[in-house]
């Protein structure tokens, strides 16, 4: 267990030494500072009476804006932003974790240590997940607390959305670990991971295409890919519902996507365990 923690710790330190994570942390801090000091909300009788950004009044157009709706809106906006930009940055920052570990002269050293290969691989996975988790926790919980203190509204939507974002990253990280161990290439890992976004969106709208297809096998392949690959679009919709505090229709897309991530991680671990270095 101590050795596994050493791998996790080593991975966290390695990630923290990278500029990308520093930039991520700086962006989060900047966002927190803006929400804390630059946004001023005057709440009267549960509604927003006045709002100022960087000391300048924001015209509300005479509309009565319920403060809990405003908080939900801010939380949803932030959740959507982190889901898109945060995932993009996190994938970019951690795509080389496995290729770096597999570099000649480094992998030999690690494999010569009294640590099983699955533990080494999973330690690397948990390390990357921890770094992204810390960053996410810092931003999401920070904004949630600041908004709560400023408005007195403590809606859990953003926290739930944060959990979904971390789960989505965990799914992508499983995929990146698998691609990384097969190809030993950071660039291929990044390309394939980013390619999943448009591909899964295309598969979400596959019904529009299948009406034009005559071959059953083509429809079968599209359906199969849809069910196997992560459902980023649907996860985004679940995230939106949770952030807004609305009921979520079905968690099946989330569960099948998690299964994909776990499957990729298992496949990557198996390959790493059996491979000669």
């Amino acid at each position: 267990m101590m050795k596994l923690l050493a791998v996790v710790d080593g991975t966290i330190r390695e990630s923290m030494a990278r500029f990308t994570f520093l930039a991520f942390a700086l962006m989060s801090t900047l966002m927190l500072l803006v929400v804390t000091f630059a946004v001023n909300l005057d709440v009267v009788d549960g509604a927003l009476a006045a709002a100022r950004l960087f000391g300048q009044d924001i015209h509300l157009g005479g509309q009565r804006i319920a403060i809990d709706e405003l908080v939900s809106g801010i939380q949803t906006g932030l959740a959507g932003f982190v889901f898109g930009v945060g995932l993009f940055l996190s994938i970019f920052a951690t795509a080389n974790l496995v290729p770096v570990m597999l570099e000649k002269g480094y992998v030999d050293l690690l494999l010569s240590k009294p640590l099983s290969r699955p533990a080494l691989f999973l330690g690397r996975y948990l390390g990357a997940l921890s770094v992204v988790g810390f960053n996410l926790l810092y931003l999401v919980v920070g904004v949630w607390v600041v908004l709560g203190v400023k408005t007195g509204i403590w809606k859990p939507g953003l926290l739930k959305a944060g959990g979904i974002i971390l789960l989505t990253y965990a799914i992508f990280l499983g995929f990146m670990m698998m691609v990384g161990v097969f190809t030993r290439s950071s660039s291929i890992t990044i390309m394939l991971s980013y390619f999943l976004f448009p591909l899964t969106l295309f598969l979400f709208f596959r019904d529009n295409l299948t009406v034009m297809l005559t071959h059953k096998w083509a429809i079968f392949i599209l359906d199969g890919l849809y069910w196997i690959l992560p459902k980023v679009h649907e996860i985004g919709m679940i995230l939106g519902s949770l952030a807004l505090g609305k009921p979520v229709g079905s968690l099946a897309p989330l569960l099948s996507s998690a299964l994909f991530g776990a499957g990729c991680l298992a496949l990557g671990t198996l390959y790493f365990t059996r491979k000669d270095y």
Binding site: K3, G105, Y106, D108, S112, K113, P114, D276, Y277
Partner: protein, 312 residues
């Protein structure tokens, strides 16, 4: 299987490379035993299979056939690796860490307990001459310094068997002498040391026994004296010898060369050597010294590889 730190029997390993999966035989039936506390050197040209053999012994690569044990345990056994240290060729350490940070992190990976890590790291960094640099990040280190750090990393958990792949690569002569000293200290502590190296002079100075590996097979194994012994070649210091005496020796079927007051004799037996000495004495030569001639390890190495290449 006891008394040996390392025992290998009929080990085979073939890699398949490229799209066509072309087989490359890296180890071809290797059998070898290294005693506990011995310093063993493995020599061979590039691609001979030296690193593959070490990787098999550390469980980094798996053999297709044969048996290998280290400290009485089958290779690949995870707990046994806590009793082995390894300095790979061309090793890479995380550049964002300091020298002490690297040693401490690998100590944790090797299972060294928390309270022991700090004192051990400091002692080892002092032994390898890096105390002043212990707080400096690795990106500032020279190649020789990284090599010495690698030795500290390999020793941090006080291993019983130490595998070193080109340990003096990139190290200056002073650093090499320091590394030799550390290896001697480890030998005295009872550590079994297995060295792969191209630097034959280093092997000659450090190792108790050596083996020469080529194309995945062991061509010769033994002590350095065994490998450098030229058989019945002798050097006789006998002052000036008359050409007629030399001709008489040659006439008896013994090749002899005279250079700088020394005779170099190649005799088929000790009896013939004594007969030659008798001839010299009867001709009035004063014999001061008779010594068997030896090759350097490098000469023997090249000769053995040459013999292998010319073998049908």
């Amino acid at each position: 299987m006891s008394g040996f730190a390392i025992e290998i029997q009929d080990l085979h390993k073939t890699f398949r490379v490229g799209w066509h999966r072309i087989p490359i035989r890296a180890l071809d039936g290797i059998s070898l035993a290294v005693s506990q506390g011995e310093v063993f050197g493995l020599l061979g040209p590039n691609g001979a299979g030296k690193t593959t053999l070490v990787k098999v012994l550390l469980g980094i690569t798996r053999p297709q056939a044969g048996r290998a044990e280290v400290l009485g345990l089958p290779v690949g056994n995870v707990p046994s690796r806590s009793r082995m240290g390894y300095l790979p060729e061309g090793h890479r350490y995380p550049l964002h860490l300091t020298g002490e940070g690297v040693v401490r992190w690998f100590a944790r990976l090797s299972g060294v307990r928390g309270a022991q890590i700090g004192p051990r790291a400091r002692i080892l960094l002092e032994r390898v001459g890096l105390t002043r640099w212990s707080g400096v990040r690795l990106r500032k280190y020279s190649k020789g310094m990284v090599q010495r750090l690698g030795l500290a990393v390999a020793l941090i958990h006080e291993p019983e068997v130490l595998f070193l792949d080109e340990p003096t690569d990139g190290v200056d002569p002073v650093g090499r002498a320091e590394i030799r000293k550390i290896l001697q200290e480890e030998k005295q502590r009872g550590t079994t040391i297995f060295i792969n190296s191209h630097l034959l002079s280093e092997i000659e100075r450090t190792c108790d026994r050596v083996a020469i590996l080529s194309q995945g097979r062991i061509l010769r194994a033994g002590t350095v004296s065994d490998l450098t012994d030229r058989g019945l070649d002798y050097r006789v210091e006998a002052g000036t010898v008359a050409p007629a005496v030399l001709e008489a020796i040659r006439a008896n079927g013994t090749p002899v060369e005279a250079t700088n007051g020394c005779l170099h004799l190649r005799v088929p037996s000790l009896e013939r050597l004594n007969a030659c000495l008798d001839s010299l004495r009867s001709a009035g030569c004063l014999i001061r010294q008779v010594t068997p001639e030896r090759s350097t390890l490098e000469e023997s190495f090249i000769q053995i590889l040459g013999e292998e290449e010319t073998r049908p």
